[in-house]
Amino acid sequence: MRFQLTEDQRALRDGVRELLARRFGREALRAAVDAPGRLDRALWRELGSAGFFALRLPEAEGGVGLGLPEAVLAFEEAGRALLPGPLVATHLAAGRVPGAATGEAVVAAVGNGLVEWLAEADVVRGNAARAVPLRSVDPLTPLHRVPVAGGVDPVAVLLTAAEQLGSATRACELAVQHARAREQFGQPIGAFQAVKHLCAEMLVRTETARAAVYAAAVTADPADIDTARLLADEAAVRGARDCLQVHGGMGFTWEFEVHLHLKRTWVRTHRTGDATQSEENLAAELLAQLS
């Protein structure tokens, strides 16, 4: 059993992180917030040529030929960087919708009564007739409401969990950075146990979710995927909330990025059906093991 990242997996994660830092850093994030609803097509094609969408497509079909663990690592980085766009939908469309694998096409999909990025999409999977725009809480995710919910692909659940894990990791890092630097009462606020314990709990939730998400990527087992989803949602939403709290007044500003993480984690919790369904699945699994 080697339940740790391999050299290649670490290199892939670092490569994606480096690409996103270069192409979607702080300035680009600001610019995206200031131009809501518009997707950077050049970046989308660059992601395509880097293999982000074709990652799991067999080499014979022009893909990278890697598996779910690698996809999870790439999506974790996307979540961490707050990369906008229908990433999961386009990734799942690779090999099925022309242009999706290369990043030539932006593919949206009908989810749990919502469609992300409908107006920017070249192709929409699922029934988006009678879609009505809503004023999205997340400035980086335009949303339409649809009367009919689409089906849920377990891989979409897992990749969304991976994005949540990325946000949870980033929220913890930001909180710790701030707690080390910000001084009040003559010492860094991170020296106060009340702040320290918030940060420690963020790490505990993140690392437990990490084990669950990575394990689900290895097994692709439905119960493991439901587990990953519940743990990652919790780590991401509560992580962003606690990160905001650690930042005090600054955390409540539009300027500081933590609200973007929090809002995106909310969007992701609704993308693939209600959490209660995952809880029900895992409850039923307890009885299934019994018989």
Binding site: M1, F3, A191, A200, Y214, V218, L286, L287
Partner: protein, 377 residues
């Protein structure tokens, strides 16, 4: 990333499973919790069986993966855990193995592995709990002996132990971490008084140990004089390593039993309770994965568990309490009946966020040693 075991590890698992199936029926009934001599005999008999079959040193000798498989399979088979062997196998033994002289290892390790001697732990004191280094039990050098006076608390198995791994203050002038020594104290030495300590669960799982000018040979000191704190840290990192593997497996079994009971008594129809059990399923599945993650990490770094086990301990101890609180809601008013299953476990689960470092201390460790936050003034 890989969750598959090697062919050798799978073979180890298969042989162990076959052996457990064969020998467990011969072990006899478990003694009652109050029967200390019976518990000692039972736990030592089990350790002897492990020794004869070649499994005795799996806690020290095996790779972390093999240890994980051993703990998983023995728990699944319903075999006893270390019981009275806890301190010898998981604290004192590994410490002596790592820090003892050849002579000390030859004297103390074989009887632990063969199931002949029981150890207890004399670390905590009434005024030294979370702040363990504040301990005040004094040891003076007198010829070839130390003379020890003071008192220890939360000592498991003290009534039936042959040896006590004892932390004493040998230099009261030095900074508190630098004046401590580690001694192996024979429990039959004159001057030792053991008083059982009744816990909120009603049983005497622990004892207080009073020491009145107890003579301990200086040759029983492991490590240098005043270096006992460092020696002890080796022990504590073992405690926070794979120590909870069997318990995670056990919690997953209890959770399935709770679901079956809820299904039987009709409370399964309550969606709030049902989903809570579903969420607990996620919780313990994730904790199992975190265990596998930590074990794989330990294998790469050479076996000594790192501070990452504090993350596990924090999450697991709270999850275990939530499990038994959910269990109480499955039982309804029956949860007030001490004769019902899980009710005593619910009470004992209350110690999990306190023992071996309170959750508050664990959060300080996580924040300072992993996240690098500054110590407060």
């Amino acid at each position: 990333m890989d969750l598959a075991y090697t062919p050798e590890e799978e073979e180890f698992r298969a042989r162990l499973r076959e052996w457990l199936g064969r020998v467990l029926p011969t072990l006899g009934p478990k003694p009652s919790p109050d029967d200390w001599p019976g518990r000692r005999a039972y736990d030592l008999r089990w350790q002897r069986m492990l020794y004869d079959a070649g499994y005795a040193d799996v806690h020290w000798g095996g790779t972390p993966s093999v240890r994980l498989i051993f703990l998983e399979e023995t728990e699944k088979a319903g075999a006893p855990y270390v019981g009275a062997g806890f301190v010898g196998l998981l604290h004192a033994g590994p410490t002596i193995a790592a820090e003892g002289t050849a002579e000390q290892r030859a004297r103390w390790l074989p009887p632990i592995l063969r199931g002949e001697e029981v150890w207890c732990q004399g670390f905590s004191e009434p005024d030294a709990g979370s702040d363990l280094a504040a301990l005040r039990t004094r040891a003076w050098r007198d010829g070839d002996d130390y003379v020890v006076s003071g008192s220890k608390i939360w000592t498991s198995h003290a009534e039936v132990a042959d040896w006590c791994e004892l932390l004493v203050r040998t230099d009261p002038e030095a900074p508190k971490h630098r004046g401590i020594s580690w001694l192996a104290m024979p429990m039959d030495a004159p001057g030792i008084t053991v008083r059982p300590l009744r816990t909120l669960a009603g049983s005497a799982e622990f004892a207080e140990v009073f020491l009145d000018e107890v003579r301990v040979p200086a040759a029983n000191r492991v490590g240098d004089e005043n270096d006992g704190w460092r020696v002890t840290m080796v022990t504590l990192s073992f405690e926070r390593g794979t120590a909870f593997v069997g318990e995670v497996v056990a919690c997953r079994r209890v959770l399935r039993e709770l679901a079956a009971e809820a299904h039987r008594n009709g409370r399964w129809d309550d969606p709030v309770l049902r989903r809570r059990l579903g969420r607990l399923n996620a919780e313990f599945r994730a904790l199992w994965r975190l265990t596998q993650w930590n074990v794989s990490e330990a294998e790469l770094t050479g076996g000594v568990p790192g501070v990452g086990s504090s993350v596990f301990k924090l999450r697991f101890s709270h999850a275990r309490q939530e499990l038994y609180d959910a269990g109480a809601d499955v039982l309804g008013p029956e949860a007030l009946d001490l004769d019902r299953p899980w009710v005593l476990d619910r009470l004992s689960s209350l110690s999990y966020t306190i023992a071996a470092g309170t959750s508050q201390i664990q959060r300080n460790i996580v924040a300072e040693r992993i996240l690098g936050l500054p110590k407060g003034r």
